[in-house]
């Protein structure tokens, strides 16, 4: 049973990053790391230890769902676990994006926006 989470609370950064990276197709951990690096142009990275801990927690909270590996998956190494985003995950990502957008607007209004240069 998914663990309860406070809908209004801010998402932990790593959770938000995973939700941004995972997209619609099921992905395994290392694919999520690669996708996130691609999204950020290699400026940011996810580390394997905390990533897998985050994936487990997100699955427990209902933001992700563990699914069977795709039929074409052939690997000589260990069996990988695949995760797919859930509707709750999508909703949480949207809510977090709105929260951050609102914060960004405040920052812009205060002259702390990304486009301004410090004097």
């Amino acid at each position: 049973m998914p663990r309860e989470r406070d809908e209004g609370a801010a998402l932990p950064p790593q959770t938000y990053h995973v939700l941004l990276a995972i997209g619609e197709a099921p992905m395994h951990g290392y694919a999520i790391i690669q996708a996130y690096e691609a999204l950020t142009g290699g400026r940011e990275t996810l580390l394997p230890g905390s990533l897998y801990a985050t994936l487990l927690r997100m699955a427990a909270e209902g933001l992700l769902k563990e699914v069977a590996p795709p039929a074409h998956e052939v690997s000589a190494g260990p069996t990988r676990r695949y995760f797919r985003i859930t509707p709750a995950g999508r909703a949480a990502a949207r809510a977090e994006s709105r929260r951050r957008a609102a914060l960004l607007a405040v920052a812009e209004a205060r002259g702390l926006g990304a486009g301004r240069r410090s004097r």
Binding site: L47, P48, G49, S50, Y52
Partner: protein, 903 residues
Amino acid sequence: MTAWCRAFDAAMRLWPSDLRHSLGAEVRLAFEQGYRSRLVRHGRRAARTFAARAVVDAAVAGLEQRARRVSRPGVGVVLDVFRRDAVSAWRRIGRARAASLAIVALMALGVGANAAVYSTLAALRRPPALPAVEDLVLPRVSIASGAASPVDRLWSYAKLVELRTAAVFANVDGYARRFGTISRPGPAESVAVEYVTAGFFRTLGLEPAAGRFFLQAEEGESHPPDVAVLSHRAWIGRLGGREDAVGQTVEFEGRSVRVVGIAPAGFEGLSGGIQMWLPIGQSRITLGAWAMTERHLHWFHAIARLRPGATLAAATAQLEAITLASEAIDARLRADQRAVSSLPRLVDAFTPPSARRSMQIGLAAAVLLFAVVILNIATLFAIRAWRDARQVAVHVALGASRWTIARARFIEATMIVVPGAMAGLALAQVVLDALRGWWFDFLLRGAAGDLLLVSADSFRLDRGVVILGMALAMLAASAATATPLLRQSRGDLHSVLRERSGPGRRRRGWLGTITAAQAALTVALLVTGALLVQSLVLLTGEQRGFDSERLLIARYSLTRATAVRSDAGVRGVHDALRTRLSRLPQIASVSLATTAPLSGSFIPTQIEQLPGAAPLSPAERPPLHVHFVDYAYFATIGARLLQGRSFLRHEDSSAEPIVILSQTAAARYLRTGDPIGQQLRFRMNGADPGQWWRVVGVADDILFGPAAGGMRPEAFLPLGVWAPPALAIIARTTIEPMAAVPAVRAALREVDPAVPMGTVTTGDAMRAQGTAGTRLLAALLGAFAAIAALVTLTTVWVTTVEAIVERRREIGVRLALGGSTARVARVLQRTVSMPLIAGALLGLAAAAWASPQLDPVLFGVGPRDGVTYAIAAGGLVLAGLAASWIPARRIATIAPSSILRQS
């Protein structure tokens, strides 16, 4: 990459095991892929940075996963509280880094010393692993005469047979430790063997690992078969563990003996380190015809198993009755002599009492040291707590409970004491390994004589002592920290903040008591350490009678020599060998003799008639320890002749009855007139039974046996009287002695290729072995005393500094009013001088009370030597005063205005 993978795996071990099993491989794969992709795209440095971050990240994630598993309500909160306490304790430790490191080092020394010494003692007390070992007893007889210490007497075969008639014993058997050379298969080697009666192994409850033990028929036959049982170690080492070892032959002392069985693994005889057992009947061949037939020749020990239901008291009573009857048959005891029987259990006597005594003394010293360390730790923690008094008062005012304060301090104590104990554990392991290698093989084996049922494998570190030490230190640290803080927390913030920082009367009293207690313990340790060190100095000094430097000692036996058929043949081989050796450039001088100094052996005889006196009855005959030596003996070993002359070259081959006595023998037996020219009568191999021996010289005392017994009456006879088939080559070399061994071996081979060389050692090694027991105790107690003194001086210094902090304002006023620097310094010193002197006196009293226990291990110095006591106590007090003078003098030289401003 491999190292980073290992580090990552180590970090993954922090994960809960189920997650590690289900996810670990995939996480590890992601790590490897991430590392490789960075290596390819960005280079080695980026890959290393990624790997380091990933390892730390995996460890933290694992710990978080574990924390989530703690589902009981409140546990997470408690963990969080402890985490915060730990962080704040870590900051406090960081602020007082030097004191914290000092406590860790003290803990390591205190715990390490105690754990190592206690573990050694525990190994000596662990009962041997033999079936129903509590039923095994050691029948012993000693001859007591007046107030003199009883002299142990062993068993002859005839008396052992009489002992077997006792109904209380299920079995009675005998064993004797001897040395001999095994020369095939494998290299020639001098080994320890035991001659045993047929039921020896059965009595001990042992089963052979292969083959059989001895048969009853093999025990007392007039021509016993040449059979032997090999130890498990010898079977592996010499026969390569061959399955067909039973039935193989081994060459021992020039004879072929057939292996009939292999002893179980781990059993190496009752006297320890045995490689082979031989039936006691074979002693006729190797030891002489008398060995089994002579009723009065006592040469082996007895071991017996009590019959089920028999009590020790009943068995002792029967042993006494048999001993009395046996002595009545002998009719050899004087009117003032009596035979005393005893029947110790094997479990109470399987290690030498001297070894246990040494370790008990060492443990007592280690406990004293630990007490000093604990007191010092308590002082350091208490001072830290006093200095935090204001901070605690503020915390209390802000709502912190006393429990919160005590808990935080407890965690701080744990964070210092536990690493100290862990370091102590590591130190103890190092010391124990050293003791196992050096003390056991080198010292215990030498001191054990004929009973040693301890193996080096039993020296295991006792972790219980470490835990106990850690608990005691925690208790002391927590009490010393929490008590003043809790007292502070009762007062109101206002009064605490207004209070000038300083100990106050109660604190001064506490510090004084601690200083006195430490001084008392330290003086007791210093006295014992100094007594032992003095013993060692005397023992290694001039008192051993010979010069050990560059002295080589190598034994050889002519029992297999093909050329030897007669006394003349034996002499011929000895002479040829000496001639060859004396021509070697590596050898400055060489001597052949039956015994080397400190070898522990001699040929026993008794003086039958003294000059100008009537013949002595058998019971009155005093002992004489005989050594056959050649003309070069005294010059080669560097012994001094006090009177008369040494032997002359031609006396090595003439049977002239002359003797050189040691100083002790001459003083004891020739009390009147010049000893030179006087004559003694005693029996000796190669001479007529009624032979008189003329004294031609008196030599300075030379120590041949253990130091504890002091000097014994020694007599030296020329090789011309009797040329024994086994001798020791004693050579003063021109190079490092062991480097001359190949040349000596080659010379022996040239004389007769069939003669194997036995044990080889050096004078320095023998001297070292002879002093090893005292050296160990002197090193242990000396080191403990030095550490205790250093720790006590630290307390004195800290106490003085505290007094300065407390009385800063008073000092400033005194100096401002014209008080002299020296006077102010003296006032401050008084804080520590009285406790120091009181403690030193208490320590002297304690040392005087306990010192008789040291008597058996001292040499040349009494246990209550006044000078030693005075130097130990006086030295500590003076050093303490010097330690307190430094800070006292320093504060007294600062300008009073500056002091007052600071206060």
